[in-house]
């Protein structure tokens, strides 16, 4: 029996690297990525073909399909740049250049990231505080909640310049005004989710706290907050992504001097699609990393709370 098992494990050697990869996260992500890349290339050829054909016609040039495909993937200002064009651009502006340079995407990412994080921090705090107020104070719930909602329907890009001008007039410049716009955008999902989460404890659990005559504060710490954790993290993932968007939006009315938003716009002014896409992808990567970090915190916190995985 024992020798038998040993022989078996000897011959099977456990799951192959392939199956292990596929059952983890790397494998599937790679497969999906490859599928996306293929799709992207096909898309690039089709979207860029009309202008390319136009160009041939203008130059009275005859062309073959092979040549067309080759040229559509190597345009200067394509409608949809090919992945490798973006990759080359990203390589140049991320790795092949000093990160302190104005042309480095690392530098611009950092500029955006700093106001993102500041805005996210303040926004989360504000969001949670508002939710706490709304859950505990009936007057706040009834009077403030509808206006919190309305505040979010105000187009940020329209009032961003006014915010910047007003803050500038009272001497606040630089990082803070941009962070304020991030805050404005990202506190809302936190508030909405936390209001829901703080109200999610079971009725019997609330009754239990009542029998102890627990203060609101105690009920909050011991019951409401732990119950709200899943809601909080779901919203934090949304909030951090929105916060990044806010930071980028905030770069517009400050004259778009530096940051990923400035890169995006600059790309946009000059029709530099490749530059837009590489800034865009960089922003997406930054966001993904941020979301992953939040997810990691979530797992840590929930594990400490004894939640069964």
């Amino acid at each position: 029996m024992t020798s038998n098992t040993a022989a078996m494990t000897g011959s099977v050697r456990g799951p192959s690297t392939w199956t292990r990869m596929m059952s983890g996260q790397t494998g599937p992500v790679c497969v999906v990525l490859i599928a996306l890349l293929v799709l992207w290339y096909v898309g690039a050829v089709f979207m860029n073909a009309p202008t390319q054909i136009d160009r041939y016609n203008r130059a009275d040039q005859s062309w073959t399909t092979g040549q067309l495909i080759e040229d559509t993937l190597a345009q200067d200002r394509p409608i949809l740049p090919a992945p490798h064009q973006v990759a080359v651009e990203m390589y140049h502006s991320i790795f092949a250049i000093k990160i302190t340079s104005k042309r480095s995407l690392v530098y611009h990412s950092w500029v955006t990231l700093s106001s993102t994080l500041l805005g996210f921090g303040i926004g989360t705090l504000l969001g949670v505080l508002l939710a706490v107020g709304i859950v505990h104070v009936m007057t706040l719930e009834k009077s403030l909640m509808p206006w919190v909602i309305s505040s979010q329907t105000i187009p940020i890009l329209a009032i961003a310049p006014m915010i910047i001008v007003v803050l500038g007039a009272i001497g606040i410049k630089g990082l803070v005004p941009k962070a304020v716009i991030s805050t404005y955008l990202c506190f809302f999902p936190v508030t909405i989710s936390m209001v829901k989460g703080l109200r999610s404890p079971q009725v019997i659990q609330l009754d239990l706290m009542r029998t102890y005559n627990a203060s609101k504060w105690q009920t909050f710490w011991q019951l409401r907050l732990p119950s709200a954790m899943p809601y909080l993290f779901a919203s934090l993932k949304v909030a951090i992504a929105i916060s990044l968007v806010g930071a980028i939006v905030g770069e517009l009315p400050t004259g778009a001097q530096a940051g990923l938003g400035a890169r995006l716009l600059a790309g946009s002014y000059y029709g530099q699609t490749i530059q837009i896409w590489s800034a865009l992808l960089t922003a997406a990567f930054v966001a993904a990393i941020l979301v992953v970090i939040v997810g990691w915190c979530e797992r840590r916190v929930l594990a400490r709370m004894g939640v069964k995985s």
Binding site: V166, L252, G267
Partner: protein, 304 residues
């Protein structure tokens, strides 16, 4: 040193080379000025910035400045380094547009955000409605670039002689395939890139003095830039925080800008009057409703 904050109308580019040169070459310092230049952008309205106290002097186009004046921001033109307009409408020849008579039924890309006034007064002068009807033109709010033309979403787009026009060229459409209408040639040119301050401040002699030193130093910068277009372009590049501008483009822009600059910063009253007349005639929805008063002064340029 006296502090001066200048709010540009657009992003850092050779369009504003004179100011950057003056800053970089120490002309402002010589004039005992401590100048901060704030770049603008698509979401920055210089009149709003100056009204909010964010700048001492701004660069704006006259139509927009006069409109703001009517809306309660008492802007006054103190100097006009740009004598000519660089705005034009660029069309693809293949669309068959030869003259303004061909416009009806076409789709035209126009810049808004206060820059649409010259276009509107041109159209009203031509008697072409802009409501998208049969005999009118369909107007699109053009983004920041010339993509609509390249992608044929529009028949014509707005361009500046010094910027967007060259982007069309760079996109692989040769100049021969383009038909351009310069506003200057159509007689609807309006004054661009002037320096404006708030009226109240002008009653303060110290402020006037400060501004005259500022304008003088700026003009020194412009003259230097005109003579050394390549170096001026490099100075602009050094000041561009986005790192997105290219040398080739900026040098070319500087060369074109030089053609628009006047000999002095003094506002030409005739040109002013032409601008006002064209704005007042702006059809059903005129930009300004009455002849502006006190919208310009020579007080600053006189003191230079």
């Amino acid at each position: 040193a006296d502090e001066v904050t200048l709010q540009l109308k657009w992003v850092t580019q050779a369009q504003f080379a004179g100011y950057y040169v003056a800053l970089d070459k120490g002309f402002y310092e010589e004039a005992d000025l401590d100048v901060t230049i704030n770049p603008g952008g698509p979401d920055v309205a210089p009149p709003q910035v100056i009204a909010g106290g964010g700048a001492d002097v701004i660069i704006d186009w006259m139509p927009s400045a006069l409109a703001s004046r009517e809306k309660g921001v008492p802007l006054v033109n103190i100097a006009q380094p740009f004598a000519k307009s660089g705005m034009m409408l660029t069309c693809l020849k293949e669309t068959g547009i030869e003259s303004p008579d061909d416009f009806p039924g076409r789709t035209l890309g126009v810049w808004f955000f206060g820059n649409e006034y010259p276009f509107l007064s041109w159209m009203s002068k031509l008697g072409i409605p802009t409501d998208g009807g049969e005999n009118g033109v369909t107007v699109l709010k053009q983004g920041f670039n010339v993509d609509p033309l390249i992608q044929k979403q529009a028949d014509c787009v707005s361009t500046m002689t010094y910027n967007e026009y060259w982007q069309v060229i760079d996109a692989g459409i040769p100049a021969d395939d383009l038909k351009v209408f310069k506003y200057e040639d159509q007689g609807v040119a309006t004054l661009e890139d002037g320096l404006y301050v708030l009226e109240d401040n002008l009653s303060d002699p110290a402020f006037v003095d400060k501004m005259s030193r500022f304008v003088a130093a700026s003009m020194k910068g412009w003259n230097w830039a005109k003579e050394n277009p390549e170096d001026a372009a490099m100075i602009v590049l050094d000041n561009d925080m986005t790192g997105a501008q290219t040398e080739k483009h900026q040098v070319r822009m500087m060369t074109e800008i030089a053609k628009l600059l006047g000999d002095s910063a003094v506002l030409d009253e005739a040109a002013y009057q032409r601008t006002v007349d064209s704005l007042l005639s702006g059809g059903s929805d005129p930009v300004i409703t009455k002849e502006p008063e006190g919208a310009w002064t020579h007080a600053v340029t006189d003191k230079m």
